[in-house]
Symmetry: C2
Subunit: 331 residues, 2 copies
């Protein structure tokens, strides 16, 4: 891909809503090559920031029926004339050999819908790398005029936290579960979930789904009220992606939450805080990348970590060695 | 304080268990002065790493009776011949005008116990600064031969997370509460609590305390099992610091948990991982400190953040500007 001319043309095609151009643009921002990164930054500047989509972060462990939910939910939205983009943030994709969305046939109706765009997770193992690029992919989808951007993650390690940092609201999808060993929600996620949806509330599982939903509603009530929540949120609901039941109600709740946040100014504050978060994160990552990539520094880091791990060197003393060598010791 | 000679003498006095020397040593590591920092690093190397205390992180919001609990719990331990150090990590101390431990009269019996050492939080507003130094204060207490180091925090923002990074086990202290509006546990803390203690299980509050305890025991069962937990943990118990009830049971649970973690190798792994965490954190903080303190760079950061917040500059593009200027752009 050649410099400037192509970039502005690509930006125009993206803004025109050309899905192939959008796919190429995302490939560009995902590329690790230095020259591609330069072009990616030019592209991100060229697409503008005048368009705004509703960014919905969504997490669900395998088996909760996430693909089915996204397909049913997405088709409901496109049927309302909305354009829907689905992105996956899956740091494990490289390990698991292809992200949850790699196999589009699992949501083939949505994949064939002209008003929908589905993008698998970039196959990187390092969450930081995946997340930073996914966040730029979200911006590209917004520029392409999508009304709703679904950012889904399997919830490995910290992935929910970083997805929350690029979302306007966060949905946790669960399956009905029995007894005490429910599905094991990571404790941290209760911090960020705006809406808990218990899926598979159909057939024999329906009573179990309602019990599970009541359990989580109770657990949510034990947790502290957050300033970004209107009365009644975070909320737990039951849905059936299979029978398209509860999806409209869930969408109504999301809109009610977002309307409140827009009116309360939370929307703007959050978007600005997120932008600063990613800016500082990029600087931090760039700095740490330097620590890894600068051969001399990287070797010093590793050698120092051995001593720190062995306990023969205090963490601060080890850090001082590295920082002094970089000419960045504590002032 | 003058160089080398004094430092080795101070290290010897600390290891001899001299409380005044320990207090001076902690003041030294808390100092922001560059020359003090150099001496502090020398001191941390001089005290050695051969001694090991049980580090108990503890969080509780004002009103749960934390001071009373620490006094009763600490006196129980010293009565068993154990030496107990209590440190506070309270990033709000500067704001609130003195840490929770500033007023020692709130635990005057323990404060007068020759086998106890109580240290208020350094009065810094920045959590990173407080935490890094507190972690070094813990190491000093270990070198001074204390058997148990209680690291307490009021749980402002992320303070529990950083205290957990310097603790072998983490205790959340709660008060009995009625109805749905319990005391509002920060969602994130459920991630790190090994033991939840519901205090004030005495008099009229006893039934309420038992209900609260049952509620949290139920909530804990909804959460995913962690690899560092033996069967039955994390656990919720009721205690009464006022009537010294349940304290021995709580101590027994802590010992059972720690024995299991030692046998399972979790103890060593955790300590090593924590050392690496603090080493990398020191490097990161040193780098970011450079971003703030280097006048030219700091000005560029601020100017860039304005554009990022306004949305006229993409986070990654802004970061590239700063990193390129530092000669640390993505390679």
């Amino acid at each position: 891909m050649k410099p400037q001319t192509d970039i502005s043309a690509l930006a125009a095609d993206v803004r025109a809503g050309n899905r192939r151009a959008l796919a190429r643009a995302i490939t560009l921002v995902e590329s690790a090559r230095a020259d591609h990164r330069t072009q990616a930054l030019a592209l991100l500047s060229a697409i503008g920031t005048d368009r705004e989509a509703l960014r919905i972060g969504m997490s669900g462990t395998p088996g909760v029926g996430k693909s089915t939910f996204i397909e049913s939910f997405g088709l409901m939205l496109t049927a309302q004339g909305l354009r829907v983009a689905v992105l996956a943030v899956d740091p494990s994709s490289a390990r698991s050999g292809g992200s949850i969305l790699g196999d589009k046939t699992r949501m083939d109706h949505l994949a064939r819908d002209p008003n929908a765009f589905i993008r698998p997770s970039p196959s990187q193992t390092e969450l930081g790398g995946v997340a930073r690029r996914s966040r730029e992919a979200v911006a590209l989808c917004e520029a392409a005029g999508y009304d709703v951007v679904l950012i889904e993650t399997v919830g490995v390690g910290q992935s929910e936290t970083v997805v929350a940092q690029m979302s306007d609201l966060f949905v946790l999808l669960l399956a009905p579960a029995g007894g005490d060993e429910l599905q094991g929600v990571k404790r941290g996620i209760m911090e960020i979930a705006d809406l808990i949806l218990v899926n598979k509330a159909d057939g024999d599982l329906k009573p179990q789904a309602m019990r599970t939903c009541a359990d989580y509603a109770g657990a949510l009530r034990l947790l502290r009220k957050r300033p970004q929540d209107p009365p009644g949120f975070p909320k737990a609901l039951t849905v059936s992606a299979l029978e398209n039941a509860g999806l409209a109600a869930a969408w109504a709740e999301m809109q009610a939450l977002i309307d409140w946040r827009r009116a309360a100014g939370v929307w703007d504050q959050t978007r600005q805080a997120q932008a600063i978060y990613w800016f500082q994160e990029e600087v931090r990552q760039g700095m740490l990348q330097f620590l890894r990539n600068d051969v001399e520094t990287a070797a010093r880091m590793r050698a120092t970590e051995d001593d720190v791990r062995a306990g023969t060197l205090a963490p601060a003393a080890g850090a001082a060695l590295v920082l002094d060598a970089l000419g960045k010791g504590p002032r």
